[in-house]
Symmetry: C2
Subunit: 763 residues, 2 copies
Amino acid sequence: MAVEPAALGYGPRTDAVEKVSGAAVYAGDITRPGMLHARLLRSSVPHARIVRVDAARARQVPGVAAVLTGADLPADREHWRYGPILRDQSIVATDRVRFVGDVVAAVAAASLEAAERALAAIEVEYEELPAVFDPEAALAAGAVVLHPDPNPEEMPGTRPQHGTNVCGLTELVQGDPDTGFAEADEVIEEVYRTPPSQHCFLEPHATIAAWQGGRLTVWTCSQTPFLTRRQLARLYRLSASHVRVVVPYIGGGYGGKTNLRLEPVTSYLAKLTGRPVKLVLTHSEVFHTVTKHGSTVRIRSGITRDARIVAREIDVTLDTGAYADTGPQVAKKCTYTAAPYRIPNVRLRSRCVYTNNPPAGSLRGFGLQQVAWAFESHMDTLAGRLGVDPLEFRRRHLYEEGDRYVTGEPLHSVGLRECLEAVAKKVGYGTPLEQTPGRRRGRGVSIAMKGSFVPSTAGAWVKVNEDGSVMVAAPTPEMGQGSRTVMRQIAAAVLTVPLERVHMAPVDTDGLPFDDGAISSRSTFSVGRAVQDAAENVRQQLLDMAARHLEASAADLVLEAGAIRVKGAPPAMEIPDLMRAQMGRSGTVHGEARVRTFGGRVEENGEAYEVSACFWFIAAGAAEVEVDEETGKVTIRKYATASDVGHALNRSTCESQIRGAAVIGLGQTLSEALRIEDGQIVNASFSDYRIPAFGDLPRQLDVVIVEVPHRDGPFGAKGVGEVAVAPAAAAVGNAIRAATGVRITAPPFHPEVVLRALRESSK
Amino acid sequence: MAVEPAALGYGPRTDAVEKVSGAAVYAGDITRPGMLHARLLRSSVPHARIVRVDAARARQVPGVAAVLTGADLPADREHWRYGPILRDQSIVATDRVRFVGDVVAAVAAASLEAAERALAAIEVEYEELPAVFDPEAALAAGAVVLHPDPNPEEMPGTRPQHGTNVCGLTELVQGDPDTGFAEADEVIEEVYRTPPSQHCFLEPHATIAAWQGGRLTVWTCSQTPFLTRRQLARLYRLSASHVRVVVPYIGGGYGGKTNLRLEPVTSYLAKLTGRPVKLVLTHSEVFHTVTKHGSTVRIRSGITRDARIVAREIDVTLDTGAYADTGPQVAKKCTYTAAPYRIPNVRLRSRCVYTNNPPAGSLRGFGLQQVAWAFESHMDTLAGRLGVDPLEFRRRHLYEEGDRYVTGEPLHSVGLRECLEAVAKKVGYGTPLEQTPGRRRGRGVSIAMKGSFVPSTAGAWVKVNEDGSVMVAAPTPEMGQGSRTVMRQIAAAVLTVPLERVHMAPVDTDGLPFDDGAISSRSTFSVGRAVQDAAENVRQQLLDMAARHLEASAADLVLEAGAIRVKGAPPAMEIPDLMRAQMGRSGTVHGEARVRTFGGRVEENGEAYEVSACFWFIAAGAAEVEVDEETGKVTIRKYATASDVGHALNRSTCESQIRGAAVIGLGQTLSEALRIEDGQIVNASFSDYRIPAFGDLPRQLDVVIVEVPHRDGPFGAKGVGEVAVAPAAAAVGNAIRAATGVRITAPPFHPEVVLRALRESSK
C-alpha cells in the first residue's frame, strides 16, 4: 500500500446523477404484466383473540382477486410462520393479534382503490385480551404471555425462555465480578433508558412478488437478499434455487429492511391469484412495521480510589414488542458491546421481552446505541465521583491493539484513542468556555465500539469484457451508503483501469454468490474484500495470458495503468489488446472469490476465548452544548464525530456515512421518540415524529476520518456505516451535565425534559 | 458414458407449464416506470432521395415526447450507422430510403395512439431513384448502386465489392476443377432458385430501452445478447460494461432475431427523451424487417461413366435486399455447405447482392437451405443421367469419419450414412408403390450438412447453494428450442442432483460470461459443454471439501445420486450436509468454464487446411409424394426426417426440434414464399403468407434421432436446431420427379406451378 491506487481515495458517487435526476428505479417503481395491488387490514386493538373475520363482502368488491385471512392459511403452521430468529410471525394473523397494526387480512385487487374498498368491507370481531406495554410488567409473575406456545427457532442459540415473555437472553461473564465488587472502594449504580424510535427511511417498504414456472421472484427493498431467499424457500418448502430475490436501489434501510417484511404476504397473494402482486406501504404503516427497541439499562460499577474500574455489571431489558424480529440479536449485541474499556471483572446480561407494542428490530448500530448511552453517561458519573476529568478517565481505560476484549479475543485495528483525541480537540475540549448568564455551556465526549458479526460469508465475482471493460458482481444492495461506488473502485484499483469502465451487475440472488447482506457495516470489509480477491484472480489470469502472448514469465510481468509490461520495461500491451490477441472479439475473463470469517470458540495455547467480531467499528463523539436555563432548550454549538474506517477507499463517502450516522444519533438525542399510548403509536407520521431539520443541527459539525488499517480488509478498509450513531446521546448528555451539573437519564432531550430536570435539581 | 446419467435422456420441458399457462414473460410484456411507446414511419417507395422530412406538426401532437428524423442525427455517421457485417444501416434514414418499409422517422409518445397520430402528421418528400429488384439486374453494368459510399466493415473478411452492389463474396477451390471437368465424361449444368420467405415467429420484434446512470439497458428478444451488447456499445462509443442486454423468453427466432433490430432506434429515442422507450412491431412490420434470401444457384458437375462425380462448380447469387444484414455470412455458408460429398475438384462461389427489396438475413439453416435444394436436386439429375438409383448414387459419395472436407479439414462425427439410410427405410424407399390413375406417386431422398461456425466462444457458471440446490448461468436465450431445459439437465447429470433442484439464472449480459448467442445450432454443443465443465469444476470442489471433512483423499471419493461416498463404501454424506458442515447456513460453491473453439488455417505435418466448423450438423429427409395430375396438388404421404444429434440429452426436445425444422422445411417446400412486386411485399400477413397448417403436413411424419457422439460435445451431444430444414425441398422435389419425371427448379410447389410443369413436359 505504498502508493494509493488511482481509483481509490477520491471520486463522486457513481449513482449520484441517476438519483438526483430521478432516473433511479426503486422497488415501488417496478411493475409487472398483469400485476395486482395489495393492501393490508391491520388490527385496531393491541391484544385480542380473533373471533371471526368475515371477508365475504370484500370478496364481492369488483376488481378483487383475493382476500387472505387466517382461516385461508393451511392447517400446518410451518406453512405460514416465519421470523429471523424465532418463527413467531404469521403471514396474516390466525388466532390472535398482538399489537395495534398487526396484519389481520390482506387483499389483492386490480387497483389500489378496489383493494381499499375491500379492506373497508372486511368485518373483524375481536375478543380483547389483557395487554402489556411495559417490559418490566411483562416480566412480572402473572403477566399475560404473548406467545404461550413455543415458537420454532430459525436461528438457534438466543435462549428464548418458553412460558415467559423473554424471547432472547444473553449473558457474558469475564473475570470474577463478585470479588471485583468486593474489592472496590465504592460501587455506583445507575439506570438509563432509551425510548423506541423509528428508522425514517424515505422509501417505504415495497415488494412485488411473482410466481413463474414454479419459481418465486420477489423484487424488494431488502438489505439481505440471500437471507430473504433462504427464509422464503423455507416458508414454501422449496429449494433455494426456486426463489429469486432482486433488489433495486433501496431508499435507506438502516437495519429496518432486513429479513422478511412484505415478501411473505405478497408472495402468498401471488400464489393464490396466479398473478404478480405489488405492495407498497404508507409511511404510517412503516412506523408500525419495525421500530427501535426501547431499553432500560441498569449499570453498576466498582471503582477504586486510584480511579480504576475493577468491576462492572450491566443488565439490559429491551422491549421487542409483539414479535421477536431481530430482538434477540439486538439483546446479544447489547451485551457484547457493553464493555469497551479494560475492566477486569464483568457481568453482562440482556433480555429481550415481548410486549403488545409494535415490533422492534435492527436500527443502525443496534444494541450499541442503547448501552453506549448508558455506559458513556455512567463513565462521566464515575469520573465526577472520582474527581477525574472524564476524558482523562476514559484514556486510562481505553483498549489498545492486542488487548483482550471482554470475550477474551485479541483486538486488532482499534482506533479508539485516535477517534477520542480527535473529537475532543475539534470541540476544544479542555479550553475555557465563555458562559452567558442563563445560558450554560459545557462539553462532553463519548466513544463506541462494536464488532461486526461472525461467522460472515461474502462472495463476489469480477469479469473483464472483450473490450477490457469490467463488470463487478457484488451482492450488496445500494441503500444510499455508496457501496456500489466503492466496489467499483476496488476492482478498478486492482485492475488499474479507469473507474468509468467498471460497472456493477444487478443485485439478484440468481446470479450472485451468497452474501449475508448489507448489515453490520460489513459490505466494504467483507464484500469489498471478496471483490478485491476476485479482481486479483482476474489480474493473475490476465498476466498469465500476457505471459503466453509475450512468451515471458508471468512472474516478470506487472499490470499498471491498464497496461501489461515486463518489470522495468515500457508497457507492452493494454488489456483490450491482450483480450483481442487471445480471444478475438469474444470472451470474458472471470474470477470469483469467497470470503468467510469464522467466529465462536477458539482454543489457542491452552487458552480459550470467543471470537465475536470479524472487525471492530470504532467511533467517538464530542459536543459543546448551550442549555437555556429558562426554556430548557439545548443547542449543540459544536459536534465532532470520528470513526476509524481502517482505510478510506472513498473519502467523501466515508465522510458522508460518518456525518449521516452522527445526524441520526443527534436526532435520537434531541427529538426523536415514538410516543406509544396503550400500544397505539400516536406520532406515526413525519409531521408528528420529529427528525432533525437543518436548523436543529450544530453550526459546526466536524467529521474526522481515522485510519487504523485492518489486516483483512480490502486495502486495509473496515466498515463505517453505523457506529457513529452511538456516541451522540452520551456526548451531548455529558456536555449538558458538564454545563448544568444535571444528569438526564433518557433521551431525547426535549426542552420540557431538560427544564424539569433543571428545576428538580435546584429544589 | 457407460451409464446414462439419471438427468439425461428424458424429461419434459421445464418451461412448459409457464408457457401453456400464459405466465411466461416476453419482451413485449415488460413495462418500465415512465415508459414511452415508439412507432416507426416507413418508406412507401423502394428507392428515393429524401428531400424533406417535416416533423413540426408531429412534434405538436399531445403526448409526443420526441420525433426522430435523419436531420436530428449527429453529423458523424459513426454515431448512427450499424450492421452485423457492414455498418450500412442507420437508426432512421438520412439521405436515402432503399426499400418499401425503410424507417424514415421514429416517434416516442406517452401512448401508442399519440405516437400513431404523430406518424400521420409527418410529411416526407421523396425524389424517387431508379430501383432494382432482381440481383442479376443489380449485377449488370450501369445498374443503380444502392450504397455508393463504402460502408465500414463490422466483421472483416466478407469482401464487399465497393462501387458495385456486391456486399459479400466467397470463393473456395479444392483440387483442380478445370482438369476435373476436362477429365469428365459428361458435364451437366442446371440452375435452381429459391424465393425469399419469412421466419414467421409468433412473437414480433420487441424491445424496451432505458438509460440509467450513463448505462443503457435493453430488454429485447435477441438471440445474440452479447453481440447486441457489443454493437450497441460501438454505436454509442461506450465500453461493453456500459450496456446491459436482458433477454426474457423469445417467442421463436430462427435467426431473425440476431444482432441489432429495434435496439438502436429505441435506445436513441430513450436517450433523446430521458425515458424508457418500448417498441413492439406489428406482424406486417416484421415481414419487412428481415427475410430469407432468395437465391439463384448455378450448379455444374463433371461425371464419369462409372458414376463418379469428378468436378463441380457452384455459383450462388443471393438477393440480400437493401441492407447487407448477415447476408455476406449467408453467402459464405452457401459456399461452405455446397459440397457434402466426396468430389475431388471443386470450385464454389457465392455473391451477396444489394437490391431494393426488403433486407434478408439469417433463417434457420441459412445458406444450406438455398444450396441443398440445388445440389440435392442436381444429384438426382446426375443419377438419372447415369442410370443409377439416386440413393445408391449418394451412398457412393458420402463422407465418412476421418474424410477430408472440401476445406481440407478432417471430419469427425458425421452420421450422414446413418441419417440417409434411416429415412430411406422409414418411407419404404425401394419398395413398390401403388399407382392410381391420375395420381402419380414417387419417393425421394436428400441430405444436408453444415458446420457450426468458428471461432466460437461460450461460457457458463454453476453454483451450488447453501441447501445443495443448484443455479446454472448459461447465456443461451430460450426461444422455444428447449436449451434451458437441457442446460439444467447437464448440470443435474454432472452433480447427480434431481432436475427440480436445478434452476437457471436469467439471460442478462451483466451477470453472464460472454457467448456468441443462440445461433448456428451451437447452444447444446458449446454452451452445454461450458455448463458441463463448470459443473465438473463444482463437483471437484465438493469432493475436495468432502475430503477435508471426511479426512479422506478426494481421489478416493465419488459423487453419486447427490451423495458423496468413499468408492465402494455406502454414502457418507449428501451435498446439503456437506454444505452445512463446511459453510454453516451460508455460502455458495461456484465454478466457471469457458469453451473456445478456434477456426481458420491450420498447418499440420506440412499440410495446410482450414477449420471451418466446430462440429457438423447432419440431416437427411425422405418423402413419398402423390401428385394429382389434374390439379397439380402435391400431397406428401410420408416424410421422414433424421438428424445426427451426437447424443440425445433430451429425446423429446431433440425430436421436437427435428420435427419442427422439418415442418419449416416442408412449409418452404409446399407453400411459403414472399411475393414482392416492385419492392412491395404483397402478402405481408399470416392470412396471405401461407405457413403449413396441420392438414398440409404428411399423415406419416417420422423423426429419427441418430447418435454419432462428438468428442467435444457435452456427453457427446451436438446441435440439432436447424439442419433438418434443409433436406425437405429436395427430398420432395426428387419424389415429384420420381413420380412424374418432371423437375421443378424452384419451390414452393404450388399446384399451379406443378401443373404448369407437368403440362410443359407433356408438350
